[in-house]
Each structure stands twice: as C-alpha cells, then as structure tokens.
C-alpha cells in the first residue's frame, strides 16, 4: 500500500503520543541489524516479504474467488466441497491458506469468522488481517455476542437466522461466501468482484449492492 511511502509524514504524530513508538522502532531496527550481521536474515528477503504482503496478496484475491463462485455454479460446488483446490485453481495458495474451507451465507445461515486465541486469518485470499480483526474487542465478543458484533458493522439479522461463528483454532482457514446481492444479475466477474468487500468475506457485513458506494 502507498501508505508505506508516507510513513515519515506520520512519524511526528506517533512520537507525540509518547516514547513507546520510537522505542519499538529502535528495537526493531536493532534486531534487524543484529540478525543481518549474524547472517540469520537477508534484508532483501525482508524487503521482498513486506512487498509481497503489502502489494500482491490481499482481499482482491478472495473477491475473485467469490465472484467466480457467483458466476459459475460448478465452481461454487467445487469451492464448497474442496475450497483449497478450488481456490488454487485461481492461483491463490500458500502460507496461512494451506487448508481452506468456504462457508456459504444464505437467507437462513449467516457465517462469521474469528480467531479468539490469536488472529488466524486466510492470508492467500484476504491478505494480512485488519487491526479490528486482531483487536481484543473482536476476539472476545465474536463468540459470545456475534449479533452485537454485526450490529457494530451495521448488520441486523432476524432471530430465525442462525448466526454461525467459526473460531479458527486449528490450521483450517475459513472464507465466507457472501450472498450474491440482489440486482447483480448480468454483471460479469470483474463487476461482481467489485461488490465483494474484505469484511463480507469475514462475515461481518454483506456484499455491496450494485450502485452502492464502495
């Protein structure tokens, strides 16, 4: 993301909040220097890893998967039967997505994904998790009050809908297949993918309606 380039503009604000940020920044720099001098890491590898997760692996991947599932019923069947293989068809594989399961939202069932113990998240399809997903507020509340969580994201469901929370306690990673929005008939996969937000694939929101602001 381009914010990387603007980091220095923000540093002044962060330092004004207290000394902790500059302390952690110095600790990280010292550790990278130490590990480099000990020959334990190659700084160019660090650069490449940062670039990979800042620019190449993110929620647009998952949106392509969802759009394909909406557009192609046979693909949707494969996705729900063996998500790892179906997602690999689109080229998305690897770290923290080795064993994928896709769960489908319907008018009767609303799926929501959390990791209460750490912050497990399906990197190949969604990228690295947002701060809110890693927050203590979300991790604690999602299992005991998922409807309260959904309300915070502006979604209210009737009492007859089953809210199904998936706590990612193992190496299975979950992708929510949101309901295809009304009014999206006739859209091609590119246009459908534009309706699929990261949050809808975690299950805290629905996919966007065509014409809604993204």
């Amino acid at each position: 993301m381009s914010d990387h380039d603007h980091d220095h503009d923000h540093d002044g604000h962060d330092h004004a909040d207290g000394s902790r940020f500059s302390d952690v920044e110095l600790r990280v720099k010292a550790l990278e220097t130490l590990l480099t001098r000990k020959g334990l890491v190659d700084p160019a590898t660090i650069d490449r890893l940062v670039e990979t997760y800042e620019t190449r692996i993110g929620p647009r991947n998952g949106a392509r998967v969802v759009a394909r599932a909406w557009a192609d019923p046979a693909y949707k069947v494969r996705l729900l039967q063996d998500a790892t293989a179906a997602i690999a068809e689109l080229g998305y594989t690897g770290l923290q997505g080795e064993h994928m399961v896709a769960v489908e939202n319907t008018p009767q069932i609303h799926n929501l994904v959390v990791c209460t113990l750490c912050s497990c998240y399906p990197w190949p399809v969604l990228g690295l998790p947002p701060v809110w997903y890693k927050s203590y507020a979300y991790r604690s509340k999602a299992v005991i009050d998922p409807r309260g969580v959904l309300a915070e994201f502006g979604l209210t469901l009737g009492p007859d809908v089953e809210v199904r929370v998936w706590d990612s306690t193992a190496e299975i990673r979950y992708l929510v297949l949101p309901e295809r929005p009304a009014g999206s008939a006739g859209l091609d996969e590119d246009a459908l993918a534009e309706l699929v937000s990261r949050d809808s694939m975690i299950g805290v929101t629905r996919a966007r309606n065509p014409g809604a602001r993204s």
Partner: protein, 219 residues
C-alpha cells in the same frame, strides 16, 4: 495455559472500531517485524505452534498493553533466545557476540515467492481410523494444561456435535509444547451458543470450533 490470550467470551474490551481504508502496515517497523519473524521461522528452528505459544507466554499485563506487531516482536526475541540463535545481551545491544550458528539455510529473496505460495502442510498422511463421525455427540475435556492448547476455556466441558471431519493433522497442543506432532483427527465441532454462554444466547446461534481427538470424549 489459561492465559490472557484466551479471550473468547470476555467482556469489557469496548467497541471494535473498524478503520476505513486501512493500510496493511501502519508503520514501517510493523512490516519489518512481520517479515523478520516470518523469515526467522523459515530457519526451521521452531514451528508455528511454538511461535504462538511464545506469544501466549508473554507477561499478561505486557500482552494486553501491546499491539499485535509488538507481540510479534516480543515473541520473536523469545524464540531467537530459546532457539540459541541470539542472546538477550545481543538483542539489547544489537551487537553480535559470537559467530552465526552453522548449517542454517537462510531464505534468499528469490525463495520468497515459492515459500509464500507453497506454505506448509499440517495434514499428516497416516492411516488412522476416525474416532467420531459427522453427527456424533461429543463432550470436550475439562483440561487446564500449563502448555499450549487450542481448546479455548469457553468451550471446556461442553457438549457439541461433530460437524466436519477434516482428516489427520499435527496436534497443535503437542507440537506447541515440544512434545512431537502426535498426529490425530481434527474435527469441526458445533456447539449451541446456549451450551457455551447460557440461556441469554439466541436459540438459533451456533459456534464451531476446530478440535482434535484428544480434546473430545464421546457423550
């Protein structure tokens, strides 16, 4: 261990507060520590479960006061020291005190695409009979181990139903406590929200948790 990391069902952490147009990393150091920890893990001196347990073993007040990537930094220091790759003095001073350990394969930039796209395999190819089938009723053990466990406190001694049989996987509780892989079946277990959180929970709602054979007994 019954640590502060085991937060499912706790109260009092306030609103979730999603951020609009959030960057992947909010500060340059967050990206560096993310990648340093990932690259260091590729040296093969610890597994992902030991890595998670290093976070859990943080001082509880320090855990709660830290941001996510601050916890990655603290746990990376712990992992490096415990693996013998660096000493506390070296980390505090930033100056190497001795030669690098021999025989380590340090990932090169050209390895990154392959490693990130390949991932790791947590499934174990052994022929074990599954103890439970989809639809079986089970009860979780009321265990409180001092080491790593992926059975959250909020789901101990609770009745549930086998929803999916995932196959045989490395057992994280063992692997994170340096007791070997102990491969065994992994299941998604479906719990009624009311079984976990009492009659105030909505009747329709459920929570599914991935649990291993050793977490479960027939009910």
């Amino acid at each position: 261990m019954n640590g502060v990391h085991d937060m499912g069902g706790m109260h009092g952490f306030g609103p979730i507060g999603p951020e609009h147009d959030e960057p992947v990393f909010h500060h340059r150091w967050e990206g560096r520590v993310f990648a340093l920890r990932l690259a260091a893990s590729m040296l093969g001196q610890w597994n992902i479960d030991i890595g998670r347990h290093a976070v859990e073993r943080m001082d509880p007040a320090g855990y709660l006061a830290s941001t996510y990537y601050e916890r990655w930094l603290a746990s990376l220091e712990t992992l490096l020291i415990e693996a013998g790759l660096a000493t506390r003095d070296e980390i505090d001073s930033g100056v190497p005190a001795g030669p690098p350990p021999a025989g380590l394969r340090v990932p090169a930039p050209s390895d990154v695409d392959r490693i990130t796209a390949k991932g790791r395999n947590f499934r174990v190819d052994v022929d074990l009979a599954a103890r439970f089938q989809v639809g079986d009723t089970v009860v979780t053990r009321n265990d409180h181990p001092l080491g790593h466990t992926r059975l959250p406190r909020y789901a101990r001694a609770r009745h549930g139903v086998i929803d999916r049989v995932h196959g045989v996987f490395i057992f994280a509780d063992a692997s994170g406590s340096k007791r070997g892989d102990q491969p065994q079946h992994l299941y998604s277990v479906r719990f009624a929200a009311r079984e976990l959180f009492g009659p105030q929970a909505p009747a329709a709602d459920t929570v599914l948790i991935d649990l291993w054979n050793a977490h479960l007994e027939p009910a």
